[in-house]
Every structure is written in C-alpha cells, then in structure tokens.
C-alpha cells in the first residue's frame, strides 16, 4: 500500500553527534504525503533533534534529508530558503514574536515572502486565524492570550503560506486534556482539509493514538519501531510496551530516559 504513496520527506541514515554524545544513530525513515506521522520517544531519545534536522535547524553529522528530490543537507542557502517555504512549523513554546500582535505574527511569513497588498495579507491571516478558531483575537499580543491559544496562533502561522508539510514540536505539551483534544482535532482537520503532511513530535500517548497514521518510536537515538497505531500497540518490544503503558518496571530505566 505504501508503495502507491508519494514520499514527502525521506531521512536516510541520519547520524547526529553532540560532542562525544551520539544523539541519533543511523535513523532512516520515509514520510508519505498526506499522512500524520508521529515521532514518539522519551525525553532525550533524539526525537526533537530529528525534527530539527528535518527542518534544517540543526546540521547533521552524516546522512541525508530529502524533500522530494531536493536534498536539504547539501542545499545552498537559496535552495534551503525555497525548501523552507514549503513547510511550516509549530513550536513547543509557540515561539510567537512578543512585539507583534496575533495577526502580525500570522502574517509575518506572508509580508516577508510575498508582495501581496497589506489588505490581502490581513484577509489571509484572519482566514488562518478563523481556521484555528481564533477570530476576534487579531489585535491581542501573545502575552494577553492563554497557552492553548498561543499554540493555535503558532499553528495558524505555520499554515499561513499554505505549506505542503507542517512540523509540530510537542503541540500538546503543557495543555489541559480538553485543550489537548482541541489541538489534536485541529491537527487532524488541517491535515485533511488542507491536504498537508504533518510530522508530530510528542510523548503524549493519548494524542499519538488519536491522530497518528504512522508512528516512529525512537529510543536512545535509534529507530526502534515503525508502523501504524496497531503495530506500535501490539509491538513485542518490551521497551515500546513499557513506554506506551507508562510502567515504572521494565527495560527503560528512569536515568535512561531522563
């Protein structure tokens, strides 16, 4: 079935060292167009590093990252910019610019990369805010809105340029269960409605089983398991089982995942 699908991102033999510490060890995976791909793993497993390597935020030690035919790891600055315009990213801390209003934050990529009239930019920004349920908050500053709303503004900003791919770094971290469900539903809706490819890094198991089409489980920088929800749920690997069940006893030691 997967052979019929087009590959959106292909990570080949990714290795990342921080000094003498190997954070990612020969990770290879393909992410298909239109799917919600979850990168799962405990703290320090390398999942956020993998995400940042895919977005070009961190240079890799060895390996390659392909967006279609374009190789991000060897691209020139101009090519990197073109690739980056094809994706959006929602950050764990929302990463909204404090000195801009909600609407200005969402319109930032549009004003920087297009020559659209400011009125058109404003209309598009308001449409995106509408999509995440934040109409009426355009003139608020990030400090005036809640954590969940910030995440949604970050999401609106990530989709402002109508990207092909959206990366989400811990989209539900620090949110209450109801807001978590709202953000999950948003990810599902946006992915389907806008025909996006979504790559989500999280360790919130409820979210994972709610939104994921496929899941990659990372442990100590290695890809331990890759498959759909049922593959992960029924995995025979005791590490995966301990993690998804959140058990204290098992092969994962607290110091390992901390």
């Amino acid at each position: 079935m997967n052979k019929e699908k087009k590959i959106a991102i292909s990570a080949k033999n990714i290795v990342k060292d921080f000094g003498s510490l190997r954070v990612l060890n020969d990770v290879t995976l393909d992410i298909y167009k239109g799917e919600i791909f979850v990168i799962l793993g405990g703290s320090g497993s390398g999942k956020s590093t993998l995400l940042r390597i895919m977005t070009g935020g961190i240079p890799l030690t060895s390996g390659k990252v392909f967006f279609g035919d374009a190789d991000l790891s060897t691209a020139s600055d101009d090519e990197k910019e073109k690739i980056k315009r094809r994706f959006g990213m929602s950050f764990q801390s929302s990463a909204l610019l404090d000195f801009l209003t909600v609407e200005e934050n969402v319109s930032l990529p549009l004003t920087e990369h297009t020559k659209l009239d400011s009125k058109v930019v404003s209309i598009i920004s308001r449409m995106k805010l509408n999509l995440v349920g934040l109409q009426g908050f355009e003139n608020y500053t990030p400090s005036q809105i809640s954590g969940g709303m910030k995440k949604r503004v970050g999401l609106a900003r990530a989709i402002a340029m109508d990207p092909e791919i959206v990366f989400y770094d811990e989209p539900t971290a620090g949110l209450d269960p109801v807001v978590c469900a709202v953000v999950d539903q948003l990810i599902l809706d946006l992915t389907k409605k806008l025909n996006l490819t979504s790559i989500v890094v999280t360790h919130n198991m409820e979210s994972v089983f709610r939104i994921a089409d496929r899941i990659a489980f990372l442990y100590k920088g290695k890809l331990l398991e890759l498959g759909d929800k049922n593959t992960i749920r029924n995995s025979s690997n005791p590490i995966v089982q301990q993690f998804i069940k959140g058990e204290i006893e098992g092969p994962i030691q607290i110091n390992d995942s901390d």
Binding site: R52, K84, R85, G88, Q92, S93, A95, D98, E112, F167
Partner: protein, 265 residues
C-alpha cells in the same frame, strides 16, 4: 601540567571560534545592508525608524545629563589647577576640547552600551531561549536581517547625533561653572572655547561614534544570539555584553585616537 595546556588550548580554540562567529555575524549584517536590497530583500525602514526613536530620542535625556555633569566636574577640577597659574580662562578651551575630542564620544557610547547594548542582548537572548530565532529561521526569515540590521543602521546614525547633543551638554556644563562660579565673561568664555577648537578636534570626536555604534550593536546582537540556558543565560549574556562593549569601546577609542595622533590626519 598537561591539564594546564589542555585548558589553555581549549580556551584558545573557543576564543578563536567565537571571534570567527563574531566576524561572520558582522559580515552577514553588512551583506543584508548592502547586498540584500539588490536581491529583493529590502531594509525594513519601519523597524529602523522605530529603533531610532528607541535608541536615539529616548536616550537624549540620559546622555545630556551624564555629559553635562561631566562638563561641570571637568570645569571645576581644571579651574582648581589652572587658577594656581592664573589661567582660569583656559577652563573654557580645556573643557570644550576634552569633551569634543574624547569625553563626549566615549561617555555617550558607554551610556548607550549600558542602555541599548543591554537591551539588544536581552531582547535577542530572550528570543533565542524562547525558540523565536529558530522560528524566524524556519520561516526562511533571516534573524540577522529581521532583527540586527534595523538596530545596526539605527544606532550607526543615532550615536553620532547623541554625541553632538552630549558635546553641547558638556560644553554647557563647563559654561555654567565658568560663567556663574568662576565669573568669566560669557562672551569671553565662548570666544576662548571656540578659539582653540580646531576642525580636527571635531572630526576626531565625531568619527568615533560610528565605530562605537558598530561595536555596541554587534556585541549586543552576538551575545544575544549566543545566549543559552533560560533566564539565567539571558542575565549572564547581558552582563557579558555590556562589559565587553565597555572594554571594546575603550580599546577602539585608544586605536582611533592613536591613528589620528600618529598618522596626523
């Protein structure tokens, strides 16, 4: 002994790497100023004017008072010495030349390094630890072009303006002491003040703020970008930024003064 070499070696490499990164940031800033506009990435004029208000207009009062009182102190100190030789009148020229050549530019720069340099590091440092710089980069927006360039251009033009205001304030401080305490005739004071002030004094003093402005912005931005480790990291970076700017301003002042002194422009 081997450990000592190891520590010295590692620190030297770190310093070298930091210097390379600093120069890279400076070159990137110049690239976005001079090359970027020709590649469809214009300078953000609105941000430049906003920064000019923050850096320039809002700093006038503090620069004015710092240099005014320096002029007052300088006049009192020199009057004490010159009066012994019957040369009290020369307080006017001593204050004017000292302020225009040296104290005005340096004190204005030190005040601005404390006020603006710290603000630049704190702002960019906070953005760094809150992933905002990474967010800009992910949106294919250069943080240097978006954040550093407007500050660089703004301070490059504002610091000389502040220095001129500071020079005037310092001369006024000397005038106040000269006229109201030393009983020097106001017209004679001004005449003496301007008589010994040469064109070289003025351009020596006014060329320095351009160099100081570059130092303050680049050190502030560099330390901001290098910030790691949350609120504590921002605090540390801000302290290092201000201290480094102070030292570099004094060193640069020495170099520029040396150039004018030895080359004799």
């Amino acid at each position: 002994m081997l450990k000592l070499f190891e520590i010295v070696g590692r620190r030297t490499i770190n310093w070298f790497q930091l210097s390379v990164d600093f120069i890279r940031l400076f070159i990137e800033t110049l690239y976005w100023i001079f090359v970027g506009p020709f590649k469809g990435k214009p300078i953000k004029s609105k941000a430049v004017f906003e920064q000019m208000v923050f850096m320039g207009s809002n700093s006038v009062i503090i620069v004015f008072f710092v240099i005014f009182f320096t002029g007052v102190v300088l006049a009192m100190q020199s009057a004490h010495q010159l009066s012994k030789m019957g040369g009290t009148i020369y307080v006017a020229s001593l204050v004017t030349i000292s302020i225009c050549r040296e104290l005005g530019p340096v004190l204005a720069a030190l005040v601005i390094a404390g006020r603006i340099g710290a603000a630049i590091t704190a702002e960019i440092g906070s953005m760094q630890v809150n992933e905002q710089l990474e967010a800009l980069d992910t949106m294919a927006i250069s943080p240097v072009r978006y954040l550093v360039v407007p500050k660089f251009i703004s301070l490059f033009f504002m610091l000389p303006c502040l220095t001129v205001i500071g020079d005037a304030a310092g001369i006024l401080g000397g005038y106040v002491i000269g006229v109201f305490t030393l009983d020097i005739n106001p017209a004679l004071y001004m005449q003496t003040a301007l008589k010994y002030l040469t064109l070289k004094d003025i351009y020596t003093g006014l060329s320095k703020p351009f160099v100081f402005a570059m130092i303050i912005t680049m050190v502030g931005a560099f330390m901001g970008i290098k910030t790691r480790g949350g609120a504590v990291g921002v605090g540390k970076a801000t302290t290092i930024s201000v201290v480094s700017s102070f030292i570099l301003i004094i060193v640069a002042d020495c170099i520029v003064t040396g150039v004018y002194y030895f080359i004799n422009f």
